[in-house]
C-alpha cells in the first residue's frame, strides 16, 4: 500500500539477483545495434528494375567514390525500426503531460484523410485547375481559424510555430517600413518561450525583456514604461507560459497601439481558449497557431508541424506569398509579390504553399469536434489542469496559485527544499512510474519549474492515477527515499545519459571503426 492507501506500488529493488542474459536483451526489452553495424552496402530491400544499357549524359560529373551506405533487406529493416520504436514513449503509450506542447490524442482518422491520394499524391506545382480541392482545404482551414480567432486574414505557409513567429514579425516590420518607420526594439516578457527572442533577433531587433508582476502576469504599467517610439512590437504569449490568462491584455494591447507598435501573440497555448475568447477582440495583430499542438497533428518525435498566422486588418496586406485568392474561376494562388491579391506581400517564407499534410489533419480534427466539441475540449483541458493543481497543491508548491490556471498547472521546486532532490530527479522518477515527465525548468521565471499540461484527452481515472503517482513521489521525496530519485530512471531502456560527455567531444555520426590491426598500434 502506498502512503495514501492506494494499491501496492512496484518495489524499488532493481532486478537484484536477476541473471545476465547472453544477448543483453531482457525478454521484451530488446537491444538494437546501429544501421551501420547491421547493414551491408551490397544488400538492398527494394527491388528496382535495371535500366537498360544507355549512354549517360552526366557531363563528366558521375560519382566515382563509393557512398558506403548500408542497406537492409525488408525483414531486417522492419525489425530494426520496430525495435527502435519500442524504446520510445508516445501519447499512445500513456499520459504525456509536457507543458506548452499540448500532447493530446492524435486521431487516426486524420492520418487516413491525409493519405487520400487526392491530398498525398498531389504536386504543389500542378496546374491550379487540377488542385481545386487542395486549395479548398486551405480555404476551409482558414475559415475555421478566422472564426475561432476573429481575425482578418491567414498566412498559411509557415512550417511551425517559430516559423510563424518569423512570418508575423516580418509582417510587423513590413508594416513599419510601409509607414516609413524604422523601429529597433521588441518587448518580450521574461517568461516567453526561447523562440520569441530568437525570432526577434533573427530579423535584427533588439530584445528588451519585460518583468512579470508577483502574480505571474504582465503588468500594463511595466509595458507602458518600456514603450517608446523605438518599440516595434510586443510579443506576448496568452495564455502565458505560466499557464495564466493575461487578464490585462486589452489594456496592454491599447498601450502598444497607442505607442505605434504592434501586438504579436504567441498562440502556442491556444488550446485553452477555443470558443472561449476570440483573440481578435483582444487587440492582437498577429498570432501563430501550432497545428501540431491545438489541432492534434502528431509531433512525430520533433516534427513536422505547421504554424499558420492569423493577422489583423492592419497586417493582412503584408501576408506572404503565396496568397489564396477566390475569383470567378474558382480558387487560385497569387504566387509572386506584387501580383493581384499579394500587392504588398512581405515576401516568401518557403518554397511551395505550406504544410498541406498538416492542414488536412487539422481540418479533420476541427470537423470532427465542431464548434461545440472544440469549446468542450478547451474546457476539459482547463478543468483537468486545475484539477491536477487542486489535488497536488498540498504536497507540491504552486507559484501564482491565487489565480485560476488555464490548461497547464505550474509548480516550482520550493517543496523540494531540504530533500536534496531537484526538479530533474522528480522528472526521472516519473519515468519509472510509466509517465513522460512534465516540462521542466521552463518557464525560466519560476525556480525549478514543473509545467504539467494534461490536455483534454485524459479520463478522470487516468488523471487520478497520475496524481496518485506524483503524490507518492512527493511523500517519498520528503521521507528521504533519495535512491528512488537519484538513480532514476531504473526501468527505462537507458539509465541517465551523460550529456556533458556528449557535448565535450561530440560524436554526431557513425564512423567505421579502425581495423583491429591499426587499433592495436
Amino acid at each position: 500500500m502506498n502512503r495514501e492507501g492506494r494499491g501496492a506500488t512496484t518495489p524499488i529493488t532493481i532486478g537484484a539477483g536477476a541473471p545476465q542474459t547472453f544477448t543483453g536483451n531482457r525478454a521484451l526489452d530488446l537491444e538494437e545495434g546501429l544501421l551501420f553495424e547491421i547493414g551491408r552496402a551490397e544488400v538492398t530491400g527494394v527491388d528496382i528494375e535495371e535500366a537498360a544499357d544507355f549512354a549517360p549524359r552526366l557531363g563528366g560529373h558521375a560519382r566515382t567514390a563509393a557512398l558506403e551506405l548500408p542497406g537492409l533487406s525488408e525483414p531486417e529493416a522492419m525489425r530494426h525500426y520496430v525495435r527502435l520504436s519500442r524504446m520510445n514513449y508516445g501519447i499512445d503509450s500513456g499520459l504525456f503531460p509536457l507543458g506548452s506542447c499540448t500532447m493530446k490524442h492524435n486521431p487516426r482518422l486524420n492520418e487516413k484523410m491525409a493519405r487520400l491520394p487526392g491530398f498525398a499524391d498531389v504536386h504543389p506545382l500542378q496546374p491550379v485547375s487540377t488542385v481545386q480541392g487542395a486549395l479548398g482545404v486551405i480555404a476551409e482551414l482558414s475559415r475555421w481559424l478566422l472564426s475561432l480567432t476573429g481575425m482578418t486574414a491567414v498566412a498559411f505557409t509557415p512550417k511551425a510555430g517559430a516559423h510563424g513567429e518569423l512570418c508575423g514579425m516580418m509582417a510587423i516590420k513590413a508594416a513599419h517600413m510601409a509607414n516609413g518607420q524604422t523601429r529597433h526594439i521588441v518587448l518580450v516578457p521574461e517568461s516567453a518561450h526561447g523562440t520569441n527572442p530568437a525570432t526577434a533577433a533573427l530579423i535584427g531587433y533588439e530584445v528588451k525583456s519585460i518583468p512579470a508582476r508577483a502574480d505571474g502576469t504582465v503588468d500594463v504599467a511595466a509595458v507602458k514604461a518600456a514603450l517608446s517610439p523605438d518599440v516595434a512590437a510586443l510579443m506576448l504569449t496568452n495564455p502565458n507560459t505560466c499557464g495564466l490568462f493575461e487578464r490585462d491584455v486589452v489594456e496592454i494591447a491599447a498601450a502598444v497601439h497607442a505607442a505605434g507598435a504592434y501586438f504579436y501573440a504567441d498562440g502556442a497555448n491556444f488550446n485553452a481558449i477555443l470558443g472561449k475568447v476570440k483573440v481578435g477582440e483582444l487587440g492582437v495583430d498577429a498570432m501563430h497557431i501550432n497545428l501540431h499542438k491545438t489541432f492534434s497533428t502528431p509531433h512525430g518525435g520533433g516534427g513536422p508541424g505547421a504554424g499558420p498566422v492569423v493577422l489583423s486588418a492592419a497586417l493582412a496586406p503584408f501576408a506572404p506569398v503565396p496568397a489564396l485568392v477566390a475569383d470567378g474561376a474558382g480558387l487560385r494562388l497569387a504566387e509572386d509579390e506584387g501580383q493581384s491579391g499579394a500587392a504588398q506581400a512581405l515576401g516568401r517564407m518557403s518554397a511551395f504553399h505550406g504544410q498541406m499534410g498538416m492542414f488536412v489533419r487539422a481540418l479533420s480534427w476541427m470537423l470532427s469536434h465542431g464548434a461545440d466539441g472544440m469549446q468542450q475540449a478547451s474546457e476539459d483541458a482547463v478543468l483537468s489542469a486545475n484539477y491536477i493543481r487542486a489535488c497536488l497543491r498540498d504536497v507540491m508548491s504552486v507559484p501564482f496559485g491565487e489565480r485560476p490556471a488555464m490548461h497547464e498547472a505550474l509548480f516550482d521546486d520550493a517543496w523540494l527544499e531540504g530533500t536534496g532532490l531537484s526538479t530533474l530527479d522528480i522528472a526521472k522518477a516519473l519515468i519509472d512510474e510509466g509517465y513522460h515527465p512534465m516540462t521542466v525548468y521552463f518557464p525560466l521565471v519560476v525556480h525549478g519549474a514543473m509545467l504539467i499540461e494534461p490536455t483534454e484527452s485524459e479520463s478522470k481515472a487516468s488523471l487520478d492515477l497520475f496524481i496518485g503517482a506524483l503524490r507518492d513521489l512527493a511523500f517519498a521525496a520528503k521521507a528521504g527515499e533519495t535512491e528512488r530519485f537519484l538513480g532514476a530512471p531504473h526501468y527505462a531502456p537507458r539509465r541517465r545519459l551523460d550529456e556533458t560527455r556528449a557535448a565535450r567531444a561530440p560524436v554526431l555520426r557513425w564512423t567505421r571503426p579502425a581495423p583491429l590491426s591499426e587499433a592495436a598500434e
Binding site: A66, E68, G71, L84, N88, Y89, G90, P298, P304, S350
Partner: protein, 447 residues
C-alpha cells in the same frame, strides 16, 4: 464526442474538488464581455463517417499524380516509396512522441536521428549533418545566415539558376535581417558567370546542382574562387536521388550543403511537410542551426544517444541562438532514413541510374516533337525544354489532355521574362506509355 473521455459526472466531481462553481469560473481572467463569443457559422461535431465524406469530396477535386502521365518536378518529385516506410512511421511510439528531451525514453528517436545524420553526411560527402530543417528552401535561408556568422560578412551571392522559390526565401529573410544579397539573373542554357560576382565582401555563394533548369554544375572552380575571397560555398540540391549518381558537393569543396530530402521516403502532399537536409564541416558545427543527436553513455556505461550542443539553440540561448527553429521535420526524417536503409548503396545507385535513363529517353522523345528544343547537354532526371509560345498555355492544354507535363518556369518567376520554358522531370515511376503519351499530346498541342 468520441475524443473526450470526461463524463458530465466527472466534470461535476472535478469542479467540486477544485472548489469552482462552474467551468466558466476557471476562465474568470478573460474579460467577462469577451467570454464565450459564439462560433457563428461553424457546424457542430461530426461522426468519423461524415468527416470522411466531407474531406473525400475535397480530395476528389484534385488530380492525383498517380492517375495520369506525370512529369512535374521543380523541387518536389514523385518517387515510389516502399509500403514498409509508411507502416513504420505510423508506429505509435514514433508518430506520437515528442522531441527527445527525455533521452531515457526516446532512444528510438535519438538513434534514428543519429542514423539520419550519418546517412545525410555520407550522401553529400560532408562531415556532419543536423537532425533536419523544415525543408530545402528554409535550410538554404539558414545556410546563408550561418555563412554570415562564420565569415562575419553580410553579403550573399545567389546564383541565377537556384530554384526561384529558394531565391525568394533567402531574399526575404535577408531583406528583414538587413543583410545584402546579390541575385544573379537566370541562365537557362546553363552558362552562368558566377565567379565574376564574388568579391572581398562576399560571405557566401549559393549554387544549386543540378540547378533549376537541370544542368549539373561544376562546383570546384566556384569553391576555389569563393575560398580565395574568404567566402563559403553553399551547395544546394532539390533532388536528393541525384547524389546516387553524381559527384557529391562535399567532394567539390562545398562548406555548407543544404537540400530537399522529400524524394526519399516522403509523398508529394502538395508541397509539405518535407524534410530539409543541412550539412557542414566539423569545424563549423557550433555555428549550425537546428538539433543534433550525439552519442554518449548512460549511468551503466551502455551506449545511448542524446540531443547535444544545445547551447546553440533558442531554448538555451534565446536571442543569441544560431536559429529560432524548434519543431523540425522529425517524422519526415524517419521516413527518409527508413527508405534509404532499404535502398542502401546498391538500391540508391540503381534507382538513380533508372531515373537518369528515363530522363534521357524522355528528352529524346520530346526533342523529336516539332518546335521543341531541349536546352540541356548534361542533366540528371530533370531538364528544360523551350516551346513555341507560352509555356503556361502549353501546360494547361496538356493538362486538359490528361498529361501533367512539367512546370512553366514563368510560374516560378513571372517577372523573369522567360515565358517559353518548361521544366520537365522523369523518375522511375514513368513508363514507356507515359512518355509516348506525353510526346503525342505535346505534338498535338503545338500543331
Amino acid at each position: 464526442m468520441r475524443y473526450l473521455p470526461l463524463t458530465p459526472e466527472d466534470r461535476t466531481e472535478m469542479l467540486a474538488r477544485i472548489g469552482a462553481p462552474s467551468v466558466d469560473a476557471l476562465f474568470a481572467d478573460i474579460p467577462a464581455a469577451k467570454l464565450n463569443p459564439g462560433l457563428d457559422g461553424l457546424p457542430g461535431h461530426q461522426s468519423e463517417l461524415s468527416v470522411e465524406r466531407t474531406l473525400g469530396r475535397l480530395a476528389a477535386r484534385n488530380v492525383p499524380a498517380g492517375s495520369v502521365p506525370f512529369f512535374v518536378g521543380a523541387g518536389a518529385y514523385r518517387h515510389h516509396v516502399p509500403a514498409t516506410v509508411d507502416h513504420l512511421i505510423q508506429r505509435s511510439e514514433f508518430l506520437t512522441s515528442y522531441t527527445p528531451y527525455q533521452p531515457e525514453i526516446a532512444q528510438g528517436t535519438l538513434q534514428y536521428l543519429f542514423e539520419f545524420q550519418t546517412q545525410v553526411a555520407l550522401l553529400t560527402g560532408m562531415e556532419v549533418a543536423n537532425a533536419s530543417m523544415y525543408d530545402g528552401s528554409t535550410a538554404a535561408g539558414e545556410a546563408v545566415l550561418m555563412a554570415h556568422r562564420v565569415t562575419k560578412r553580410r553579403k550573399a551571392v545567389i546564383a541565377g539558376n537556384v530554384h526561384p522559390h529558394y531565391r525568394e526565401t533567402i531574399a526575404t529573410l535577408s531583406r528583414y535581417a538587413d543583410d545584402g544579397v546579390t541575385a544573379l539573373p537566370p541562365a537557362p542554357n546553363g552558362a552562368e558567370d558566377i565567379l565574376a560576382a564574388i568579391d572581398g565582401e562576399t560571405s557566401c555563394v549559393v549554387v544549386q546542382s543540378p540547378d533549376v533548369f537541370g544542368h549539373i554544375v561544376d562546383l570546384k572552380p566556384i569553391a576555389e574562387k569563393a575560398h580565395a575571397a574568404g567566402a563559403l560555398l553553399i551547395a544546394v540540391f532539390t533532388e536528393v536521388v541525384s547524389l546516387g549518381l553524381i559527384e557529391p558537393p562535399g567532394a567539390q569543396g562545398a562548406d555548407i550543403v543544404v537540400g530537399e530530402g522529400q524524394s526519399i521516403g516522403n509523398p508529394l502532399t502538395f508541397g509539405g511537410p518535407y524534410v530539409g537536409l543541412f550539412c557542414t564541416r566539423q569545424k563549423y558545427v557550433r555555428q549550425m542551426p537546428g538539433r543534433l543527436a550525439g552519442e554518449t553513455v548512460d549511468a551503466d556505461g551502455k551506449r545511448g544517444f542524446v540531443l547535444t550542443l544545445s547551447t546553440r539553440e533558442q531554448h538555451i540561448r534565446r536571442e543569441k541562438a544560431t536559429s529560432n527553429i524548434c519543431t523540425n521535420s522529425g517524422l519526415c526524417a524517419l521516413a527518409f532514413t527508413i527508405h534509404l536503409s532499404l535502398l542502401g548503396e546498391t538500391g540508391l545507385r540503381k534507382l538513380a541510374r533508372l531515373n537518369h535513363a528515363n530522363a534521357c529517353k524522355l528528352a529524346d522523345a520530346l526533342a523529336a516533337v516539332p518546335g521543341v528544343k531541349v536546352l540541356n547537354g548534361a542533366f540528371f532526371n530533370e531538364f528544360t525544354i523551350r516551346v513555341p509560345g507560352k509555356a503556361a498555355d502549353v501546360i494547361e492544354k496538356l493538362a486538359a489532355k490528361g498529361v501533367l507535363g512539367g512546370v512553366p518556369y514563368s510560374r516560378l518567376a513571372p517577372k523573369a521574362g522567360l515565358d517559353d520554358l518548361i521544366l520537365v522531370a522523369a523518375t522511375e515511376i514513368n513508363t514507356d506509355e507515359d512518355r509516348a503519351a506525353y510526346a503525342a499530346a505535346l505534338k498535338e498541342v503545338l500543331a
